[in-house]
Symmetry: C3
Subunit: 349 residues, 3 copies
């Protein structure tokens, strides 16, 4: 007697309906162990998550972990229900960090289906979800929209009515959350490692973060597992025809963000992610570099500003910092671009 009804095979396109709410499994308590592992896996040196003293000196009551720890954990919960049968992770929008995640917090994630569009080939469709991660007090920690292309189980299943959500191209400055207590009035630039404040960055400026890191399988698997992300392509050489383990896109985000310290040391907290594209896959042996472009600036409080940044990860260093090239009359991402992420970071004025 055999059973495969007890294992989760993930949802297919026809399993989703607009308005459906999915409560994802496995609440997860964040600990100091997560902070240490994050620092072992990514070359992060931002003073605020590194130092409890620095964190207290800018007014935070508890010492937060990096925003991306919360994001990856919250995101990982959605994978078994939303993207286990995904063809591709198409995009992110409207991701906001509502309050810092601190050790001891337990994160749970719920998603609502906000859009559906079957592809013209009838074999797959795009699912739009808005996911919300809450802590043990029921407070929203992070929310975001994403859309993924998901296989149909049954090609003959009827197409649902197309619903396309309206998603902002970026999070409005007025929607950026400054964590309770945060003030950069007594900010210690020496401890932080850079004198450059909001006013020192100009829209259009590009910063080559110089350093590179060569990926290993053990490291990206450990990171991805830490977030309880179950997508098999990250772990199993038998899951892909080429025998390679695909690096979780979030691993490249965290790596590029950590590399961006060298040039953006005072961009201490991520306040929002406006958009993101995983342009090309990454594998062990690839050496990842990063560069940033300043897209916008904003003043949030007397002491806290925000930089809107494009963060680009590349395979191999591109000193020219070229995002797109023209090819047959179209703009295409330049060879080597792995990630194109658009986010808001908080920085001292």
């Amino acid at each position: 007697m055999s059973s495969d009804t007890k294992t989760n095979g993930g949802n297919f396109f026809e399993d989703f309906t607009v308005g459906q709410v999915i409560r994802h499994a496995t609440p997860r308590t964040v600990t100091e162990g997560d902070r240490a592992l994050y620092g072992a896996i990514y070359p992060t040196r931002f003073a605020l998550p590194s130092s409890a003293e620095f964190s207290a000196s800018v007014g935070l009551a508890q010492h937060p972990v990096e925003e991306l720890i919360g994001f990856h954990i919250a995101f990982g919960k959605t994978v078994p229900d939303v993207s286990l049968n995904a063809v591709a992770n198409l995009g992110y929008a409207e991701c906001r960090f509502h309050r810092p995640v601190v050790p001891g917090d337990t994160l749970s994630t719920t998603s609502e289906v906000i859009g559906l569009k079957q592809n013209s080939n009838g074999r797959s469709g795009v699912v739009y979800v808005r996911s919300t991660a809450t802590n043990q007090r029921g407070e929203v920690a992070i929310d975001w929209a994403r859309w993924v292309m998901v296989h149909k189980r049954d090609v003959d299943a009827p197409a649902p009515e197309t619903v396309l959500p309206e998603l902002a191209s970026s999070v409005a400055v007025s929607d950026l959350v400054v964590p309770e207590g945060l003030g950069f009035g007594g900010y210690d630039v020496e401890a932080a490692g850079s004198p450059h404040r909001l006013g020192d960055y100009a829209v259009g400026e590009r910063i080559d973060h110089v350093d590179g890191v060569t990926l290993t399988d053990a490291e990206h698997m450990m990171a991805t597992r830490l977030w309880q992300n179950t997508a098999k392509v990250h772990f199993n050489t038998e899951a892909r025809p080429d025998g390679n383990r695909l690096v979780y896109g979030g691993h490249v985000i965290s790596l590029a963000r950590a590399l961006s310290y060298n040039g953006l040391a005072n961009a201490q907290l991520i306040a929002a992610i406006n958009a993101g594209s995983h342009v090309a896959p990454a594998f062990a042996g690839d050496t990842v570099y990063a560069w940033s472009e300043v897209l916008d600036t904003a003043e949030l409080t007397d002491t806290v500003g925000a930089l809107r940044l494009r963060l680009v990860a590349t395979k191999g260093r591109d000193e020219s910092m070229t995002l797109k090239v023209e090819s047959e009359g179209k703009q295409k991402y330049a060879a080597g671009v792995l990630l194109d992420l658009d986010y808001w970071a908080l920085i001292p004025r």
Copy 2:
């Protein structure tokens, strides 16, 4: 002037006597760092060890780490004294988890020699020990019997009287410990990730856990070191003629247990290990899958039940879930079987 009398060369068969008690070195304090590393190395998603909130919701006063963290730490302490000169780890029996291990607990292990039998070739013998891990309050956390084949230092040393301990083929239901406070009355199946309770599992049912993980050397070495297990074959490519690092058998146990979440998400705690065989060695590059068979069921309290499970790890996925095949009139383990473990898990009724 050189000294090798200060290094531990391990015990040989003739160093053991029945009734001998060995207090193993290096007490070890468990921390949240262990939980995080366990989650980075194994794809575990059981809600209870993942979430302090979930743990509290089922009545536990403190947030336990996975039982196998305690087991591996307690077991690791015995290696330098019991199995440093082992030819093979032959079996386990009567392993009971007496109380949850929580961060802050310090584990120490003591072993008593309970049996001896020299092999007919005169070059080695089987040593039976019962090991007991206690916490800093002297309370028993875990105890188990195991037997290993150990080299003789001196082939001419006389054979000891043969003593074979009586060991139960499985831990009796009446000996299973339900942790203090544990009750599954308000159990949250959505948070746990599966609706399947005790009554949904039938004796004889087999569950293919579907997912696979390809092993790396860095990961199994980090895990094995975390347990302070010193057996050199796990770490040193010069310790084996083939130049491979042998994966610690406990690594395969933890990996298979974590994979079993997909189909056994509510089997939250391990209560006992009845028996275990490391059928074949595993190495980096192997892709490990797992399947389970329900061997028995039991009702322990109004809300807590137990599943007796056979957990089988395989190299390569075996969708047929074949344990043994007949070969020349004998039952042999099927090709690819790495581990055959028999254990009791607690699950909501």
Copy 3:
């Protein structure tokens, strides 16, 4: 518009002046996660850092992490300012551990330039710094001197006046710090794993630590990142012509120190580092062994003694424990020697 003025390119020889004080960036809070990761990466089994109970039993109010965790963190902070453009790390001296580092401590490092000497080729010079790591209360945790050979940015820059600091060949016994409260009166040799006390070691004695560990890239990168050490040769296969990632010298120190448990189990705490040479580079795939030589002994309190030890790491096991050989009339390090470290450890009398 592009900017490379915001990234740190590190200091060159002509950027240093004697008396200059550099406050290094990124204060870092130590956590239990660091202890766990250290135990996952190095095969350490010293009872004191392993067990909070053992630590309390020898009089310590809080459970310290291994001294080398503090050292690597404190050292890592100096890399971006002192040795990013280093040709070679030439030596250490006068390193003292003033008080145990415990989880919750936040370490910051400041360096003073204490010597400068341009090389005769005019292309580089030696920079001597004394670095001091303090905790969040401003108390000195660790201080040490080191000297590195650093490239000049501009070969035509004038040579500074040569200043050579006086550095002791070893830390005087009277300068060794016994941590507050530490007493080995009730020392538990069974828990520690060895009966050998101060008086059991004789000057000149050599101990082969027997065990070996084969290096992997993932492990040394994770360790080095944990210390926020940014030297690119450790992480980036494109940073060296041979495409290998150079193992951080401190990784070899920690590995050898952990291996030395087998023979020096009671040498529980490092009190000082007298000198250290990274004799040859190490890479993934190398199997590292260690041996020690007793250089001196001292009695510090009624119950606490000190061993001055030479700790030698080798690539491949050298059972002859040969440090140097004569070659063309000169004493040279024997083939395979990776590290020659001279340190003081505290041990029960």
